[in-house]
Amino acid sequence: MKPITCSVLGLLLLAGTAVAVAPKTLSPVQVANVGLMSTEPYRFNGVVMTDVARGSGFVAWNKRTFFSAAHVVYDAEATAGSNWGLPPVWYPVPYADALDESTAIPSRGYYRFKAYSAIVDVGGQTGNAFGKDVILGFAFKDLITGAPATLNLNGYKDLGTAGTTMITGYPAINFYTGLPITGYYLDQTGPGSTPYQVSFGRALRSTLVTTGSGNSGGPIWTQKGAGWTAAGVLVGGRPSESIVYSFSPDINALTRSVAPVVKTPEGSPISVAGVGATSFFFPMVKAAKAIPDGVQHWTNFATSVSRFDQAAVVTKAHISLNITTNHQGDLEVILQGPGGLYQVLHNEEGGATHNLIIDDLDVTGTFAGIYADGGWTLRVQDRLKGDIATINSAVLEVGVDGAVPPP
């Protein structure tokens, strides 16, 4: 493996000569001693190595996942061969002249965050490093001892304030001085309290913070009390500037996709607010209600489902309901899930059969794979006059499996 330091996309304007005066910006400084490497937030860091590039990364959200910058691991400019390359190798918290191969953990792959519309962006701002230049790598082995770093999904707001922030990583050069940084010693840039400004979308920039290539993919931390939370990923810079992709709830699209790969054995219970459960029941009808007779319009019973983890997708959806009527054929009933997906539960079948009882009907086939949280609505019509239908109860059961990181 012959690593080449990954230059930061399009912005590498190295200083021609080294400067001896104190830098005007916050610049990378080697973490003081190896003893700190087992403390937070340093212990979350690592080197991300591919067959062609070197970058930084950090273990967050799950012990088996690491964040880095997409341009470190994905070669968007490849003219021949795969853009994907080999899955990157993770080196946990190096602090030495050379990487220790015995500590290397090959990842199994990564998810690259990308919107189709970024590809055709005529301004080019979302399609490059300053769009969603972030990946979430995954391994079949723990990448860290102890709990992973916590994501700050409010990072895009917090970084805009004068709160305390810090960038860590493994730069191979100091952009400000132009001097090379030898070895694999963790550097920190900060702590500081410089507010970042919006560059584009969730990409934020600061002209008072400097890092260096090789630091790409490293975290920017926000201080919360005595601890640090991961608020974004360093994606670009130059001698007078650093650019980070800041975290927001958008990042949930990444964690949702990776969740089925790193979760504990499939089918294991999900932990919701500390309570182990595989499904929850949601009453959709709070009190018996007569359905307007012979009026071809829906009567709606809406339920907002918000008990699950962001990553949790529906693996079980069952519906039970009880409608009193003398003519089942009058009724049309549908269940509509988040985003508009729906299933017809009853479509005027049954003619004069009394009462419509649906007992634990499995509708998983329609709703499997969608995120469980969101608005669910039961819609009922009594389409023919002459028999009053009363809905007495309706209960939706939504189940997910272990698609969340362990606490």
Partner: protein
Amino acid sequence: MKGPRGVIPVAFVCLLGLGIWTISRNRPLPAASVPQPVASGHVRPPLKTADDEDDFAAREKADREVILRDWEELQRWLHRVPPPSPEEVRTRLKILRNRWAALDPQVLAETLRQLLDTHADAPTGLAFQVGVHGSLEGWPTLRVFLLDVLAVSDPAAAAEIARMTLEKTSSADEYAVAMRSLTHPGPVRANDKELLDRFGVMLAHAGWETQPGFAEAFDLPRAIGSVDAARTLAAWQGNGTLRRMALEEFAADHPAAMVAALASAEGAALDGSIKADLMARIDPVDPAQLAAADAYLRNPELPAEEAAGFLKTFPLRSATTGDRLYGEAPAPYTHDGIAAGDRAALEQVNRWLADPEMQRYRADLEPLQARLATWVDQAGAR
């Protein structure tokens, strides 16, 4: 009304029901008109009795007035000086979508149709952005917003209005969002042929290729999942990056269909590096897909570079993801699925290494064998 139970009354009721059903599903919607402002502070009247059709009509009228009043106020608010910030617009539109989605879905669909027919529109200052469940987080225009809300209204009416929009619109963003109402599984979901035909119309539309809606609609082949959908993608000669990402997301979700598409003329014409990545996404647990990969690698005409690309990434489990317009964010792989695939792939690599015919690939096969052995060990250790 339905009277004594018997054959004739039952037949009568059936005919009556069919008639009402037909009328209901085909009844004319309100004629297009310019939304009229309504008095502020209007409150929906409660229903007095369940079967009071007049009250029900009053409620519908109130719902319609809520939407029309919101729409009028929204347009005035967007034109205020100074104009609202993009984040203020986003917040207001999200609130409005939730508020409207809680109203009667048929009234909502009909009123949205009425508003769309007026062709009233305004830019919002927001970029086109897809969010969770395929619902938008950013609506570049108010008409795109209306079409986004349409997808959570009455499914049958939404599909009908979406089709009308698809026939008329000159906006790629509107076209892409309107198609969402045809993709929801269920009785009114458009069939694969219609969806693919409409996708083809979009691909051929001059001037749309750089529009965000056009790009986001490339999630449609994945939502369809058929061999024909993959072939259509492969045949398209437009933006190569867009095509490649869509092909890869398709292959990750539907590897068997992609294998079949690669065997077609359209698939065969793809660039070698793309074919290598797509073939590397097969599920090795499926004997048919594994046999296809074996035949692919044994093909004496396979360029060495393409073979090396395949053996470098096989089984390729890195992927793109993000919120998508016609389904949830791609999550095609699971821990157990990858682990089983790696075990099957390792067995196949061992067979290739033992096969004299495959010795030309030894330099690539041995590192692949080592990688797979590591991953199998890791997965086995949990």
